[in-house]
Amino acid sequence: MTEQLTLTVNGQRHQLEVDPQTPLLLVLRNTLGLTAAKLGCGLEQCGACAVLVDGVATLSCVAPAGQFEGKTITTLEGIHSLTVSGSRLQDAFVENAAAQCGYCTGGILIALTALFDRQPRPDETQIREALADHLCRCGSHARVLAAARATAGHTEHRA
């Protein structure tokens, strides 16, 4: 069942012996030990498992790892150094305390990093659209939006 698979994750090439049908999320978490992407639903409904694939926010809980050969994967662990906006967004999340339990936070940061790397000054609608597929249950939404607005340079951050 296992095959040789080459994945490029956070700037490193990994030669792996895995079942290529394994969802990418499980390979990242269990084989590579990159646990920032979370298993939330396993149904591509909540966003907790998002990672960047060639700069695009992509859900990793269903898609087989074998589909990602030749692509550039960046996880939350890598956005600080490998993306343009990642560290600014992380700072804004700290500044705005934009997390409670934090289980959904990584996926949300990935979605926003993809947005801001494409569009450094998104408007409110673009921010909300980028987060359309992300669920949060603690109710940190207002702070997440505030952190995104602050990063985008909007003057009114909260509310």
């Binding site: 069942m1 079942d19 049908q21 394994t22 969802p23 499980l26 978490r29 269990n30 030990g33 990159l34 646990t35 920032a36 992407a37 979370k38 298993l39 939330g40 639903c41 396993g42 149904l43 409904q45 909540c46 907790a48 996880t75 939350l76 662990e77 600080h80 992380q90 999340f93 700290v94 305390a97 997390a99 409670q100 339990c101 934090g102 289980y103 959904c104 936070t105 990584g106 940061l109 909300r128 987060l131 359309a132 992300h134 669920l135 949060c136 249950r137 603690c138 109710g139 940190s140 939404h141 207002a142 702070r143 997440v144 939006l145 909260r158 509310a159």
Partner: protein, 720 residues
């Protein structure tokens, strides 16, 4: 100062604080971090009492081997329990250390000054540090219940904005949730639950997982789990077992309209006086007072709703057998109660509690009794069957949605009369509900195991749990049923309804959300029916100055006198959680669209939590409470059929999304010298009512049943 309940069980200073030899201070608490930033607040409390830099303080994750038993992290009690205990512990330690320093330096303790743990006698030009005084030794004294806490303003700490502990790890992916634990030789596990509550396993082939790597099945009666060293293999094995298992359908889930079941089923009914139930006959609902000029009656309803944690419950367990005696069980769990879980599990497994250690590891936000404890039991059962290996067991999304204990469906029947001056002269409130209290709790007749899900599925099952009325003040079904208003004649009744269809337990606010929803919508109805302004009508009946202040603040901030253009409306509501904790009012500006969707435009949440230790943390809790309650109010209802729960994912159980977010701000009223009050649940009740009241103001639709979906609004508009 009221003495924290936690000090009764853990009276010794060394149970709370230790001076490490490296200049740090170790703080122990049985309360757990669930995203509410309790660690951040407790750090500040100890730093304040001990005059030290907060960076010196290290909070030990809760663990049954070394933490004080503080029961559950629930009911917004952590600041009162752990905060209260650590305030006195810190004050005791400070006085003790000052005494030791005075002896050492040969001076009066009154002349000593402390700076970051360094005690100085300025006149003698001598000093000694906390750590030099104790040199790693324990304090060996009890916490002094008469110790004097430092005045709030003295350190200046409480006014500062604090970075939440651990947030940098959260945003960079370094934090470790239960789901992220890794051990050598660890096996991944999944449970395979019956299709519904009343199904039992009939047959399962022994070779069902043959060919799937090292997967194997663990079975005890109708409890079925699979383990494998590869998680994907475990997932596929679980799917195969689910497809091939034969289940016996014992009986149907009763799908009669839940509102009918709540009124028709056998029940235990108790009068509630001053928030406390009494074992006395319920006084009948009398005729309306002779001088009543207006009498209204209304029934409100909240359906079953779920905690809906974003991360499904999980646990890790290791069972180590012993050749000479009983084995030991080590559990990593995101339970809210490490000690009750340890003791309930001991009863279920027939083990000595001393041989079970439970370590708290963060999970996804829980908001009450979700699947955390049940997943821990599942992992323990698998670990016992596969000894010597770490077992990381995760529930699936469908497991969590379909098997967690829900917030009970509730119906509230209200009646009130006004005199000709518009004053409430008579008030009756009856709440009908299943139990809110099914958290595992050890005790006689095996009630601990009875509340653990897997206990029901074993070959030798635990007895079924039979709820009894919670007699505590403002608990369970009657939480916040007794209104904060100064009504002279009030009749409050709680009905614990038996034999209802779905499994229920504690969810954020327990009965508080539904009761405040009913009270504060009914106040709105009474105001409108008697031609009074809903804000002024409330203020006229509210004699508690702090409640008045939060209400007025929310009204002022939203601009109560400006209702906005047609199609928009303002709603307001107020409550004090459990009539003894944080005060909160919510004001909502909402718009009703042609699509019958209610959109929240602007929200103000005001709060008075006494002395504020971490203002940003308090604001986050009030915001989060509003947002979650807005989600319950607008979107949420657990759906079920005769053969199982239909709400099994986020499409069949929608919750609030980013696109639904209004402009939201919090207005805090700080009372530095008043005791800190629990804040985690305060804004939920007012949120629900303020939204429903804004709907009425915007559309004229009075919808008394949640959620306020477009379908329900259209149906109501047809009826009106």
């Amino acid at each position: 100062m009221k003495v924290s309940a936690s000090l009764k069980d853990s009276p010794l200073l060394d149970q709370w604080l230790a001076l490490d030899t490296d200049g740090r201070i170790t703080v122990r608490t049985g309360k757990v971090e669930i995203g509410q930033r309790i660690g951040t607040a407790l750090t500040r409390i100890v730093a304040h009492e001990l005059h030290v830099d907060p960076a010196r303080i290290h909070i030990v994750p809760a663990d049954t081997r070394q933490s004080p038993d503080e029961g559950y992290t629930s009911g917004s009690h952590s600041m009162e329990h752990a905060g209260g205990a650590l305030t006195l512990a810190g004050a005791t330690a400070r006085a003790h250390l000052l005494g030791l320093a005075a002896e050492r330096l040969g001076c009066d303790p009154k002349v000593l000054q402390i700076d970051d743990g360094l005690i100085r006698a300025p006149s003698l030009n001598q000093s000694v540090s906390y750590w030099e005084l104790l040199q790693g030794r324990p304090f060996d004294i009890p916490v002094d219940l008469q110790a004097s806490p430092r005045p709030t303003a003295e350190s200046g700490l409480f006014g500062q904005r604090l970075e939440p502990l651990g947030i940098r790890d959260l945003v960079s992916g370094r934090s470790c949730f239960v789901h992220d634990l890794r051990f050598d030789g660890m096996l991944h596990a999944r449970v395979v639950r019956p299709p519904h509550y009343h199904a039992r396993l009939q047959s399962l082939d022994d070779d069902v997982v043959t060919g799937l790597g090292d997967a194997r099945v663990v079975r005890d009666g109708s409890f079925v789990a699979v383990v494998a060293s590869d998680e994907f293999v475990a997932m596929r094995a679980a799917e195969r077992v689910a497809t091939r298992a034969r289940w016996q359908h014992v009986k149907d889930i009763d799908t009669t309209d839940i509102r009918t079941q709540l009124l028709d089923h056998p029940r235990t009914s108790l009068p509630v006086v001053d928030g406390t139930p009494h074992r006395e006959p319920v006084p009948p609902l009398g005729p309306t007072p002779a001088h009543a000029s207006l009498t209204l009656s209304a029934n409100y309803h909240r359906p079953y709703q779920m905690h809906g944690s974003i991360g499904p419950s999980a646990a890790c367990a290791l069972y180590s057998p012993s050749a000479t005696g009983p084995g030991e069980l080590l559990l990593w769990s995101h339970t809210q109660g490490i000690f009750p879980l340890q003791q309930s599990l001991a009863e279920l497994l027939g083990m000595d509690a001393e041989r079970i250690e439970v370590r708290h590891v963060p999970g996804s936000g829980c908001y009450g009794h979700n699947g955390a404890d049940d997943a821990a039991v599942d992992a323990a059962l698998v670990a016992r069957a596969v000894p010597g290996r770490h077992i990381l067991l995760k529930w699936t999304r469908a497991d969590e949605h379909a098997w967690e204990p829900y917030a009970p469906a509730m119906s509230m029947s209200l009646r009130a009369s006004l005199d000709d001056r518009g004053n409430v002269i008579d008030w009756s409130h009856e709440s009908y509900s299943d139990t809110h209290r099914a958290r595992p709790r050890p005790g006689p007749n095996g009630v601990g195991p009875a509340r653990l899900l897997a206990g029901q599925h074993l070959e030798d099952p635990a007895p079924a749990y039979v709820p009894v009325p919670n007699m505590a003040r403002h608990a369970g079904i009657h939480r916040n049923a007794d209104p904060l208003y100064a009504f002279a004649n009030r009749r409050i009744v709680k009905h614990l309804v038996h034999d209802l269809p779905l499994r229920t337990s504690a969810m954020r606010t327990l009965g508080g959300f539904a009761n405040v929803f009913a009270i504060e919508c009914f106040m709105d109805e009474l105001a409108h029916a008697s031609g009074q302004d809903p804000l002024r009508f409330r203020l006229a009946h509210l004699h508690d100055d702090r409640a008045r202040a939060v209400l007025q603040r929310a009204a002022d901030e939203i601009g109560w006198t400006d209702p906005g253009p047609p199609g928009e409306g303002l709603g307001i509501a107020v409550a004090q959680y459990t009539n003894s904790q944080c005060y909160s009012a919510v004001a909502v500006r909402a718009r009703i669209g042609d699509d019958a969707r209610l959109r929240l435009l602007e929200v103000v949440v005001s709060g008075d939590a006494g002395r504020v230790v971490d203002a940003d943390g308090v604001e986050a809790q009030l915001e989060g409470g509003f947002i979650q309650a807005a989600s319950w109010t607008l979107f949420e209802q657990v759906r079920f059929a005769h053969d199982g729960i239909s709400s099994r994912d986020w499409e069949s159980y929608p919750i609030l999304r980013f696109e639904d977010m209004p402009r939201l701000r919090v207005a805090l009223i700080d009372r530095p010298e008043a005791p800190s009050l629990g804040v985690g649940e305060a804004s939920c009740g007012p949120a629900g009512a303020a939204i429903a009241n804004a709907l009425f103001a915007a559309s004229g639709l009075r919808v008394r049943e949640l959620p306020l979906t477009p379908e329900r609004l259209r149906a109501q508009a047809m009826r009106d």
